[in-house]
Amino acid sequence: MTESAKKNRVPEDVMMDILIALPIKSILRFRCLSKSWNSLITDKDFINAYLAQAKPLLLLRRWQDRQELYSLHLDNESLDTSLQFQNLPFRSEAGCFDIIGSCNGVVCLSDIDHQGRTKSLILWNPTIRKHLYLPLPKLCGPHSATWGFGFDLSSDDYRVVRVVRQVSSKREFPMEFQVFSLKRRRWERINYSPTLGPFCVAPEACKNSGYCNQVAFNGILHWLVYREENDNRRHSFVLSFDLSNDKFGEIMLPECLARVDIFWMVISELDDSLAALFYRRDAKSVDVWFMREYGVRNSWDRLYRIQVDGFTRAMVFRKNGEILMTKHGSDEVVSCNPRTQASRNFGNLGLRRCDHAEYFVQSLSLLNESNGIVPRGKKKKQKGNVKLNSRSLGEEQVMEPGGGAGS
């Protein structure tokens, strides 16, 4: 090659534009081209640029042949399958993972057994086929807990949040708030405003399951929770946690929803604000509520009442105006146009036994994260590897909330 031809190489910023037009599988392969391509691909700016242009797809989780199956679908008329994630690189001891949430193409999964014990906690980017086992927080025995997962832009960090209360018939334990930072790789205890008072994170019927009724957007996590009031009536509300300042808050539901058992409700996101769905068993219909102004109680509005025979567990507001729901019991996927009440059932397209749906983007997130955390359950089995054992013990020490292990 002549010198002038060498000078005419494709400039780096153009290389980035070419790479962005490629699927992730090709991008990962091309890390091998040369050192400069590898550093371009693993650069945070490139990873962010890829994420920013990624097309939103729908992530569904369903059951087939006694296995959980994760797949991506185009947000089109027939929910065409874009990709199936086969042969999961990890297994659930409890039989099935709970999906805490997803963010930037990363799914957060927890494995909680029937006694409510947390067995493992995983961050998984299925697109690049990478997963990280996270250390478990304190209090992983049989507890009533709810989880949340999100990304904080200001600290450029993934966070897992757990709200937990030890269950005991003997005495009332206080709530604990635990936050895991991927950057710091440890759990910390967060103080919360006492004005929130005691509350419950899971309905009676789901006390020991990995019940999770949460939605995260704009760096704020939201859970549907309730407290028992003096008159023995329930008062349901939305607990919020702002990842940028670690502050908890309470967002009121409209009067008529506040009295409803959270078991019959689902929260979701619409236009950067909260939406709540309430299944009315007697009327076999769902009411869809929307908080027109985020945080303002008076702005809750009932948008639609949709005839649906069966309680829905997930709710996605699609770009085409339809509402995607997964029906409990039949676990079928239904997309409903709330204006015409017309609904399409995707069960006959093989989307049966589906219990989870949300928007998802394919990304390179976690590409640069080292895989240095050993799952708790595997420690004993890895007898031969002393180094790993001592390391994972170290992780446990720093996990102690409020402990000074970081200093």
């Binding site: 000078k7 005419n8 699927p23 990962l28 091309f30 040369s34």
Partner: protein, 183 residues
Amino acid sequence: MSSSTDSPTLTTETTQLSPQPDTETAKPTKKITLKSSDNQIFEVEESVAMEFATVKSFFEDSPSTDTVPLPNVTAKPLSQVIEFCKEQIKFKANPDEAQKKKYNAEFVTEKSDKDLVDMIPVANYLEIKDLLDVLNQAVADRIENKSVEYVRSFFGIDNDFTAEEEAALRREHAWAYEGVDED
């Protein structure tokens, strides 16, 4: 401002290289002279030259110039870029998205890998965004399912990894090397 005076032979060596003869222009339009790094002279209509953001700002800075030297650009890719821009001017006058799409697709389809790769730095230097987008997508389409070795030779990349480093990267994403086209 660099000029041609430092190499006096250039002024005499003007090879008239017009990629496509302008037959339809009856009235005289203002022409602009571009000079490639290999000393080829291109006379293009002002409207075409103004598609090149770099040339445009050159003229804004020194309006009296008659020849724009393009020290980073060789003749062959430049002639192809001019060809592309001439067509874009027509689409500007008579917008037809479908035809434009068709032209753009044909423009890149008939080019060799080398032509595409050589045009990219030119389109980038001259800041012709439409062309750059077309080229980037065309290159992405051509390399998407190709092997590492193929893509290295496509771009003329020297492998600076040691065998061990490369093997480690291949192990990290072994699945990404499956189902790749034959070279």
